[in-house]
Each structure stands twice: as C-alpha cells, then as structure tokens.
Symmetry: C2
Amino acid sequence: MENWFTELHTKDTGISIKVAKPIYTKFSKYQRIDIFQNKTLGRILTLDGLIQLTESDEFIYHEMLVHPSLVVHPTCEEVLVVGGGDGGTAREALKHNQCRIDLVEIDEAVIKACIKFFPTLSLSLSDERVKLFTEDGTKFTKKKKSKYDVIIVDSTDPIGFAKELFRAQFYKSCYSALKENGILVAQSESPILHRGIMKGMYKNLSAIFPTVQFYLVPIPTYPSGLWSFVFCSKKYQPLEFAREVNFTTKYYNLEIHKASFALPNFVKDIFNSD
Amino acid sequence: MENWFTELHTKDTGISIKVAKPIYTKFSKYQRIDIFQNKTLGRILTLDGLIQLTESDEFIYHEMLVHPSLVVHPTCEEVLVVGGGDGGTAREALKHNQCRIDLVEIDEAVIKACIKFFPTLSLSLSDERVKLFTEDGTKFTKKKKSKYDVIIVDSTDPIGFAKELFRAQFYKSCYSALKENGILVAQSESPILHRGIMKGMYKNLSAIFPTVQFYLVPIPTYPSGLWSFVFCSKKYQPLEFAREVNFTTKYYNLEIHKASFALPNFVKDIFNSD
C-alpha cells in the first residue's frame, strides 16, 4: 500500500507527497515533529503536519530570509535568529564572515532531530560563532537592549505558541533589541492565502519601524508556492547598499535582491485596502 | 463521499483539489476536456488531466504571457495567438487598443467549452478585432510571411500533438511570420521540473532569434508553482520600451515587468550548463 502525506492549504486544496520512507516522529512539549523521505523532494520536516522544509527547496527560503538584510546592513556583526532550530538560517548567516549569531529556538526537540537528520542545515549549529538558546524567543528578545544589528524571525505559522511572534509587543521588543541602525526581517506568510496576516503585520510593524517593505519569493512546497518576507529597518533602505556576495548561492543574486521587492498589484492591494 | 482531483507533477508529488461540483467532460478529437468547480479556486479547466487554468490565478498567467511583449513593441498591431482557445490571452491582448488578433486553436471543443463555462475569458473571442481559426498552429504559421508584430504561443505541455510547438521547425516558421521587428513569446514550463525542456527551447530559439530571454512568474496551480516564459525578439530588448500600461491589471506593472527578467542562479544554470 502506498503512503501519501497531504497538507491541506485551505479546506479544499493541498499538496500531496508520497512517503517513500517515514524517518522520525516525536511529540515534543510543543508540537508533533515528523521527518520523512520523498524521492523528488528529499527529506522533509513537518511540524504539526505542516511542511517546514524539504531538502529540495529549503535553499530558496533560507537564502532569501537571510541575505537581503545581511547584504544591506554595511557592518553587521551581531545577529539574533528567533526560531530556525533546523540550522538553515544560521548556515546562510555564517556565510557573512563577520557575523556572530544568537539562535533562540523554543523547542529543543526540533534542534536534536535536525542535528540527526538534516546535517547539511544543522552543521551550522556547532559553529563556534553560534550560541544556542533553547527558550521562548519573545522573552529572550525582551531582555536585550540595543544589542543586535539584524534580527531574523524564522518562525512557524501564527498558530499556537508561535502567535506571539506576530504580535506588536514582540515587534517592539525587537525594535529595542536592535541597535540604532538595526534591521528586522521575518517570514510573513503567503500573499495569496494569508493576506489578513500580512496586513496585520504591516500595520503593526509600520507603527514601529520607519521602513517596512515586503518582498516575494517562490517556494514550491509552501502553501500557494509564493511566500513573503518583510524587511523592517530603522535606517537603511532595502536596495541601499545591496551588493554582490562573495560566496556561492543557488537562488540569491543582486538582480534577484532588487527584483524580489517588486510587488504585483494584487499584493500592493493588501496594504492599500482599508 | 468526497471527490478529489489530484494532478501528479512528478511520480511522487502533486496538487490535490476537492471537486465541489463536476461541470463538464468531453473527449474531443485531440484530448479529454474537464471542467469542475472548487470553492477556493473557482472553476478549473483540465486537458488530459492537467490543469490549464483556474479562475483564481489565470490572471497571473495571462497577464504575464501577454503584456511584457506588447508593452515592449512600440507599434504592435498584428498579433498571432497560437493555442489559447480559452480566450484569456486574447482578452489581455485586446487591452492594447490598436491590436488585431489572429487566434489559431487546434481544438474547437476547447473553444466551445470555454465560451460556455469561462465567459470572463472567452468573451474576448467574440470581439470584432479577433479572428478565430480552428486548425493546426504549426501549419497556419508556416503559411504566413512577415505578417505579425507579435506571436504569442499559449500552448499545453510538450506532450502529444503540442510537441510540435516546441520544435525548431515551428520557431523558424514564427521567425518568418514575424515582421522585421517582431517578438515571439511562449510559455516555457517550470524551471524546477522541466529544466531539460527549457534548455532545449533556449538552444533552438537562440539559433534563430538574436534576443532570447526567459522570465519567471509564480502560478500557484501550475507544477512547482513557478513558471517560465520566453521572450524572443528580432530587434527589441525586453526592458527597452517598457512603460506603464493605461488599463487595470491585477499582477502586471512596470516594476514587475523588469523584476520578472531577473533569474535566480539555479535558473541561470539551466542555460550555462553543457
């Protein structure tokens, strides 16, 4: 009998992926963690039944979550990653040689599973420039003042405990935890399926940061295949110091950096409507 | 019992869509035509079990297949659409007031089904500026010399009879059917799943047209969610005369026009590899 995994993106649409081999299942304190193998997509991590990453396309998500802000910030040294227990975000941030990273993941079980089953992502977590904290990212951020150049929010969807990472209170903590020229970047869901969430983020973030700009990235295994990120800054504009990077990337390049901030009319409408 | 439609994009991955209501099924001379209703996506047209369009996201495909070339060509009047029996491509082309359209669709049954069930697309087919031909697009094109300003290939995948629309011979006919400053644009499949097809198109088209540039567009209900189009020109560069349009669009705008031609490294690799 064939074993298929289906993730519903709405009540009546979804993605179907054949499970070539189940690899790992654990009920942690926070969520259900599953890892399975698919021939086309490689290993896949799901949390509470929702795809977090596949080996085939995680490079798009992680490169585009990380490089735009680290390329724009001219002197970034101190980075905070909130979430990102798989290590993919830290892996990309470490390509910027001068960066040191505090990574705060609430669920230690995610880190442990990824160290075992996603070594190409999680190897970064053993780098001496990375400090791991397994605690609540909102509480951690609240305690920090003017410490970070860049904060990267690599969160799950705003369901359950991750809801806190989409609230104005958390964004205020991030603002305070950033230096006077700091940048906050966060994954901000699908512009097709989660327009209300993006609108809410825009409203909350615009009340705090002088610059708030969304950018778009195609991620095949995420709901609708089109994902958004938000770039929030105290000082720098997203194209201000954009430059070619001196390391290898599979998705990111300077033209893509600029292009990603161009928004189709139906996405602009999210922010212009009442 | 629930009725779900699943389109496999590879042997072990696919999209699943609940059939709220089957609307139409016909076996034409060329293919199986199905139309069904889904709450989230609206009406959906499939040919031989492959999604051609959904009411929810057809605007992205049709706007981006049509406007880039019609915006760049400074004096476009004569347009040939090969395929496109649903009428969506003609609808967008007609927004450029001065354009007259020859539309050659091989399968009359597709036209008839779409006239009945997709009026927001097929209304264009009754416009007096559109001439309909129900015949083989390759043969039609072969007979024309220096007639068109822009040729738009709105084809199905290169399977069965549509294979001809991906061959060097057809591209040569298009070249001859275009005026001396003509532009050919074609849908060119997924840069993630159909890299071999894109590479073949690039090779064939580059041997004929001095300018061949691919551009990318996210289309949620197409395989991998990321689609490509190719812009081939005798004279004009794709950004040369790009300008804002004087009609309403939901996806297309001038920034998007420019941004779509930026390619991620893994897409550039398709054309650079041996």
